[in-house]
């Protein structure tokens, strides 16, 4: 479904991605783990067209998208819930969700999707008129995921949904990611520092170091891998 071929991305003169190859197949949950500054967020921003690659190819269902603008990529169904949640602070919960459906015109189905996300996260329904900037961290993350769902993603890109959240809320959010993947058959590409939880959720994983992929395997094998254990799982 999504394929990266030898992708190289730069910030000015600094090379952030040093020739990335990876693949996400339809229906999968794939996770990308790695330390701070490894290039995980850059990978997602490159896929979403915010930081276009200098060379290499990003293929979505076989067609190259690395030269497309962000809004064209969004239109194809590649939707990102970015790092730090990036809720529009001065918009209400409702307006944030409407922004998620920005490119859609099917008003009736959008209404159903509101019900769907409020069903996933009843907390958001209670706070629909509240400004996004006044929500708690966990609520903001729920809103960020819901906003992405409002775009009807074919491939959902999640960047560190567990960042800064209490363990109980992390478990809840990961459970919902599993649910989204299973019930609406949404493919998920999950970037995480919380390697343990991410690998338990995902089917396959990639390990990133210094802008390069150093390891890839099924999630179960990665969880058992000695190098991964000592570097990322703290065992």
């Amino acid at each position: 479904m999504l394929e990266l071929k030898n992708v190289q991305t730069y910030y000015g003169n600094i090379q952030a991605l040093k020739g990335i190859n990876m693949e996400v197949r339809e229906g999968e949950i794939v996770t990308l783990i790695g330390a701070n500054g490894a290039g995980k967020t850059t990978t997602l921003m490159t896929i979403s067209g915010v930081v276009p690659p200098k060379s290499g190819e990003v293929l979505f269902e076989g067609t190259p998208i690395q030269k497309l603008s962000s809004e064209k990529i969004v239109k194809k169904g590649l939707i990102q819930a970015p790092e730090g949640r990036r809720i529009f602070p001065n918009m209400s919960v409702m307006e944030n969700l409407e922004m998620g459906a920005f490119l859609r015109n099917d008003k009736i189905i959008i209404k159903q999707d509101f019900d769907y996300v409020f069903d996933l996260f009843p907390r958001l329904a209670e706070r629909r008129a509240q400004l996004g900037g006044t929500l708690s961290g966990g609520e903001q993350q729920m809103l960020a995921i819901s906003r992405a769902l409002m775009a009807r993603p074919r491939l959902l890109l999640l960047d560190e949904p567990s960042l800064g959240l209490a363990p109980i809320i992390i478990t809840q959010i990961f459970e919902i990611i599993r649910k989204i993947n299973k019930e609406s058959n949404t493919t998920v590409f999950l970037v995480e520092q919380n390697a343990n939880q991410a690998l338990k959720l995902a089917h396959r994983g990639y390990v990133m170091e210094n802008g390069a992929i150093t390891l890839t395997d099924t999630a179960a094998n990665l969880l058992a891998n000695e190098a991964v254990k000592s570097a990322y799982l703290g065992i």
């Binding site: 915010v50 920005f102 900037g133 903001q140």
Partner: protein, 302 residues
């Protein structure tokens, strides 16, 4: 106390304030989205006035009269101003997006000087008489010594324009895209907003408002030249900062406060000192509330 005089000053202050508001909105909207102070915005206002002058001259020759000239001249001036606004953004600002903040600022000053001198050469350095496009209404006659028809038209037009703008920003799709872009440009892109188009639309709206201001003021004051955009631009910018730059209701409040201050200073002290009061007020408010009257209210939890 002479109440009639007070009311007269109040009206004159509101008229000034609403004109400043029309122009201040252009500054504050552009600043809100791309953090740029568009110093050439006053020139768009001036160009709007010039286009209206030329159009109204032509229409008079073709036998149009009264209000129809005003409306047509304002429409055509708005279209021209919008075209200038878009072109300005494309040529002077877009290539510098992502550059250090000083670069587009210098580019803005350059664009301002360029447009002034372009009109100076293409038209004339002299003041040109501007026809009184706003007719005197009969029903206004009893109170004409306090509020004239032109003042009334200016107040009504600016009020309607601002209501329209509020509706546009609060409830339309493009308005939501503008607010999203203002709050987080990258996230706006990730929801599918074409940010370049939003920026262009912002320049169009700002320019149209400035052109409306240009037509109204030209017709009210009765003369224009290539330099009128400068002082009005500085005052409107002051109003935007007073209200809290980037904040739309703030720009309107700042403009009204500024206009009233000027009018009362001119009326009760001396018109020679109106600018002293205007900028003195700016200094005072910036000392007490550095973010402006309606500076950032919502705090974001992390």
């Amino acid at each position: 106390m002479d109440w009639a005089y007070f009311v007269e000053l109040l009206c004159s202050g509101l008229v000034r304030g609403s004109i400043y508001a029309l122009i201040a909105l252009g500054y504050t909207m552009v600043y809100g989205i791309i953090q740029l102070i568009n110093f050439a915005h006053g020139e768009i206002y001036m160009i709007g006035a010039f286009v209206a002058l030329i159009v109204s001259g032509a229409l008079t020759i073709y036998g149009f009269s009264g209000v129809s000239i005003l409306v047509l001249a304002a429409l055509i001036a708005a279209v021209y101003a919008a075209a200038y606004g878009i072109t300005l953004e494309r040529i002077a600002y877009r290539p510098l997006r992502g550059a250090p903040r000083l670069s587009p600022l210098i580019s803005a000053i350059g664009a301002s000087l360029f447009l002034q001198n372009y009109v100076l050469l293409a038209q004339t350095p002299d003041f040109l008489p501007f026809p009184a496009l706003i007719p005197d209404f009969e029903f206004m006659e009893p109170i004409a010594h306090i509020v004239g028809s032109p003042e009334l038209v200016i107040l009504v037009v600016t009020t309607l324009t601002m209501i329209g703008l509020t509706v546009l920003i609060k409830h339309t799709k493009i308005g939501k895209a503008m607010r999203a872009t203002q709050q987080d440009m990258i996230m706006a892109r990730l929801t599918g907003v074409n940010v370049d188009r939003v920026i262009s639309v912002t320049f169009v709206i700002g320019s149209v408002l400035a052109a409306i201001g240009g037509v109204l003021v030209g017709s009210y004051i009765g003369q224009i030249n290539f330099y009128i955009g400068f002082m009005v631009g500085v005052k409107a910018f002051t109003a935007a900062v007073l209200g809290g730059i980037g904040n739309i209701p703030g720009a309107v409040i700042g403009a009204l406060v500024l206009g009233l201050t000027e009018a009362f200073a001119a009326g009760y002290v001396s018109s020679a000192y109106e600018d002293v009061f205007a900028f003195g007020l700016l200094v005072l408010i910036l000392i007490v509330r550095p973010a402006g009257i309606l500076g950032k209210a919502v705090k974001q939890k992390v």
